[in-house]
């Protein structure tokens, strides 16, 4: 069975799905990722699906589950690179991918994670900073 590689780049885990995954491969990826988040202490996960020509309900559910698991493990998940045809199909299928953050490409995904982490920083970082953001 094929395995999807999980790369660590700085504080982020990058998963670039390049193959037409069987359901078993998807489940394995889900498990691998949970382990890697804990092992590396990363706070961000980017799943790049640029190469996927379809996302069906099984893969959609896997993405939602990964997002939920990583949230429990204090990591932010962003799904990036969804193709237009895939997005149109998902809408028709009725799959809304609730709770998943998305971005157009890896770069934007990284910005999104950085912004989310920074927001948390501000909130937990004493009153002074929190006040300055509130006034903007």
């Amino acid at each position: 069975m094929e395995r999807v590689p999980v790369l660590k780049i700085g504080d982020i885990l990058l998963v670039s799905i390049q193959v037409d995954m069987s359901d078993q491969t998807a489940v394995t990826l889900q498990e691998d990722l949970a382990e890697r988040i804990v092992a590396t202490g990363c706070h961000g996960v980017i799943i790049d699906i640029t190469a996927l020509d379809i996302v069906d309900s099984f893969v959609g559910r896997m993405l939602s589950t990964i997002a939920s698991i990583s949230r429990v493990l204090d990591a932010e998940t962003v799904v990036v690179g969804m193709r237009p045809a895939v997005a149109i199909t998902l809408v028709e299928l009725g799959l809304s991918l609730n709770g998943i953050r998305t971005a157009l490409n890896v770069e934007r995904g990284m910005e999104l994670i950085a912004a989310a982490r920074a927001d948390e920083w501000v909130l937990t970082d004493g009153d002074e900073d929190a006040e300055t953001t509130a006034t903007t």
Partner: protein
């Protein structure tokens, strides 16, 4: 069967015996109705070609236009109708070009009438009727394909997606949106988001005269699909009547941002991105 093999042979003889006079009279009769939109020389050439292929076909014992011997003749007729349709002639004008030969044949046959003349003329007429109908059908087919081509070109023309700011694209929709066009717009917009890496899209419907449930659905689906890809859509230019329709139809726009004008929508987007960068900027300083 339009005519028997013997009648076909007699038609061939009639056509070839008086070849010059026949084509000349034929050209004259039709030339008047074409009113200079087609040069005399060009039409004369078409008549000669038609005349020649009629002779060839009838010499081979043509009994029915759809028969095998009629292949060449059908090709010439189809070519003629295609040309006329593209040049903007009406179906009637095109059919007359063929039917005119009837009058000419009648003139010729009246010069030396005998017992079989009437019967022959009826048979020849039947064949010419078939030719006329075939012309008409080819004409309609050509027109239909012209219309389909134009509809496609219009679709291409009428759905521009433009980048109006760094990270912001806009689609100004103009005219009636049907399902097919809405689909094209949707696909094109989403693809542009990917190509330009823009996280914001403005769909401006100032130029859309009416919105029905189906069109509203298409717009909503586009917005949801864009969100799945990681981009936000803002709808601008909703006119009062359209707002009323949307509410009357019970269409839920939910948390989709709507703005009165394209300018408002752009300001809204810039404020969103502006606040973001300002905040980040501030944090870096502290």
């Amino acid at each position: 069967m339009a005519l028997s093999a013997e009648e076909s042979g007699r038609l061939a003889r009639l056509l070839s015996e008086h070849a010059d006079r026949l084509t000349q009279r034929w050209t004259e009769r039709v030339g008047a109705s074409l009113r200079g939109r087609l040069s005399q020389a060009e039409f004369a050439r078409q008549v000669q070609e038609l005349h020649r292929s009629m002779i060839d076909a009838t010499r081979n014992g043509l009994t029915e236009l759809s028969a095998e011997q009629g292949g060449e003749l059908r090709a010439v007729l189809a070519e003629l109708s295609r040309g006329r349709a593209r040049q903007g002639f009406t179906a009637t004008e095109t059919a007359i070009s063929v039917f005119a030969v009837k009058d000419v044949l009648l003139e010729l046959m009246e010069e030396s009438p005998d017992a079989g003349t009437l019967r022959d003329f009826v048979a020849f007429s039947a064949l010419i009727d078939q030719m006329g109908l075939f012309t008409f059908e080819s004409f309609v087919r050509t027109r239909e394909s012209l219309i389909a081509d134009q509809a496609e070109q219009l679709l291409e023309l009428s759905t521009p997606v433009v980048k109006i700011w760094e990270g912001v694209v806009a689609v100004p929709l103009v005219g009636t949106l049907d399902s097919a066009r809405a689909q094209v717009v949707m696909e094109r917009l989403l693809q542009t988001l990917v190509d330009t890496g823009s996280p914001y899209a403005i769909i401006d419907i100032t130029g859309v005269p009416a919105v029905d449930t189906q069109v509203a659905q298409h717009i909503l689906k586009t917005v949801v699909a864009a969100r799945l890809m990681g981009a936000d859509c803002i709808i601008s230019g909703i006119r009062p009547q359209i707002a009323q329709t949307i509410v009357a139809l019970g269409i839920e726009f939910g948390d989709i941002a709507t703005k009165a004008s394209l300018a408002d929508a752009l300001r809204h987007v810039l404020r969103l991105t502006g606040v973001d960068s300002a905040r980040r900027h501030q944090r870096r300083e502290s």
